[in-house]
């Protein structure tokens, strides 16, 4: 995108009917480090890449627990993400207090989207520069939503946002048809594989990624680094095998991660990012 005379204000339309400030906010999401989400009928897994600025610093928190049944992974301006997470936590806790019942995810994402929309229609505000993958459990099942800075939201079977997310999306597009009935552990393995795609050759280890799970009978929680490393080791050894039940192969001793074989015929629709102009 190039600078033009219609991009100063969020309240200025371009002649082509675009709001450039909103689109620039979406760019900020694309520059953030990757976050992915995928769901089955009963579980949702969120994962993100955690890159620390230097060896000396800790990495940023990008996955937040919003309630026992809802969690969110963010990409973009993490400060904006924290603020929105706090808003979401507030909404959940207020609803729980009044109704003694968990807030349905579908309603939370609508409230979140409406909040984002406000910032696209006030001259004294700017859009939130963060994309949110909201994972939650409802009466109607497991849900994964993506909330845009534009105020749009979409429901997904699986999705990836942030830098080099296209690689993860390609992987997810190939595999998503297996997700609905996958077991919880297979879902986590698929999440790790998707994250590995975004690393483009770097070694996948638990220090660079964070995984969180929420599901039926399993409140939202972030997996500890030990368990994550164990799961990585379990399928790294296998390497080439791409079946859902990957057993550790005793004979293989590969440490380099190899590309999984591409499968045939995944539909294009589910994993494609919206509003990619």
């Amino acid at each position: 995108m190039f600078r033009n005379q219609y991009d100063t204000d969020v309240t200025t339309w371009s002649p082509a009917g675009r709001l450039f400030q909103v689109e620039y906010a979406m760019e900020a999401v694309k520059q953030g480090s990757a976050a992915i989400g995928l769901r089955s009928r009963t579980h949702i897994v969120l994962g993100c890449v955690n890159k620390a600025n230097s060896e000396l610093s800790s990495h940023q928190k990008k996955i937040f627990k919003v309630d026992d049944h809802i969690g969110v992974a963010i990409a973009g301006l993490t400060a904006d993400g924290r603020v929105l997470s706090r808003y979401m936590r507030n909404e959940c806790i207020n609803y729980s207090f009044t109704y003694e019942s968990p807030l349905p995810v579908g309603r939370l994402v609508v409230q979140l989207a409406d909040k984002a929309q406000v910032c696209t229609q006030r001259s004294w505000k700017r859009p939130y520069g963060v994309g949110l993958l909201v994972a939650g459990l409802d009466e109607s099942g497991a849900h994964l939503y993506y909330n845009c800075p534009s105020g749009n939201y979409f429901e997904y079977q699986a999705f990836a946002i942030g830098s080099r997310s296209q690689a993860a999306k390609t992987y997810l597009e190939r595999r998503f048809e297996n997700f609905t009935d996958a077991s919880r552990d297979d879902l986590v393995k698929d999440a790790l594989m998707a994250i590995r795609e975004t690393l483009q050759g770097e070694t996948l280890e638990s220090s660079v990624c964070t995984i969180a799970v929420v599901g039926v009978g399993e409140p939202f929680h972030i997996l500890d680094q030990g368990s994550v490393q164990q799961m990585i080791d379990a399928f790294e050894i296998v390497g080439e095998q791409e079946g859902p039940a990957a057993e550790p192969d005793a004979a293989a001793g590969q440490d380099a991660s190899a590309e999984p074989e591409p499968e045939q015929g995944a539909a294009a629709g589910e994993g494609v990012a919206p509003m990619d102009i």
Binding site: T98, E100, S101, P104, G106, R107, V110, D138, S140
Partner: protein, 244 residues
Amino acid sequence: MQFMASKQPENSLLGPESDSQRTLYPYVTGTSVVALKYKDGILMAADMGGSYGSTLRYKSVERMKPIGKHSLLGASGEISDFQEILHYLDELILYDNMWDDGNSLGPKEVHNYLTRVMYNRRNKFNPLWNSLVLGGVKNGQKYLGTVSMIGVNFEDNHVATGFGNHLARPILRQEWHENLSFEDGVRLLEKCMRVLLYRDRSAINKLQIAKITEEGSTISQPYSLKTYWEFSAFANPAQGAVGS
């Protein structure tokens, strides 16, 4: 802060809002509501009387109303406050429906909402002068709860308000069991209502029984209970103690 002392009642505990009015006593009141869980859902009974002090003034007051798809609300106490609560709940259900998603407020949610309303009003020293019974079924789960005007709330297999607590609950404790049939449930409720009719002076012999199940709610047409007044003590009341 300024107090306009001449306008304030003696027992005021108000702050600056010297002209606010708050409920001090009820005027038109309904008496007991009794409810129990049975095999398919909840059964609730209440008579149709609205007393004006000691006068049994109104005799067609519907004290039970359906709320949304899944709940039934019965109330005793101030009738106008009950109507106010119905207005709040109407709005609540409206906004819930406006989401137009697959979710809906079940009886547990409505009960807790009412608890919040009642307790908050009590904290402002301006209560809604009611005792409420909230029953319903959602996704196969039966729910029966009660809230008082001071915000005391709990759930149970059978609940009652007012005199019902003293006269009906003991009967229910003896005779209620899980998976009552519809007929047995009605019989049990009628037994309770009959005792209340004999002994509660604000009860009238015109009642409705309401039922709520997964399919929905129905409120019966008003009817009356058969009573027996030929007990020998009634026939000859002065027998044991002749008056002067």
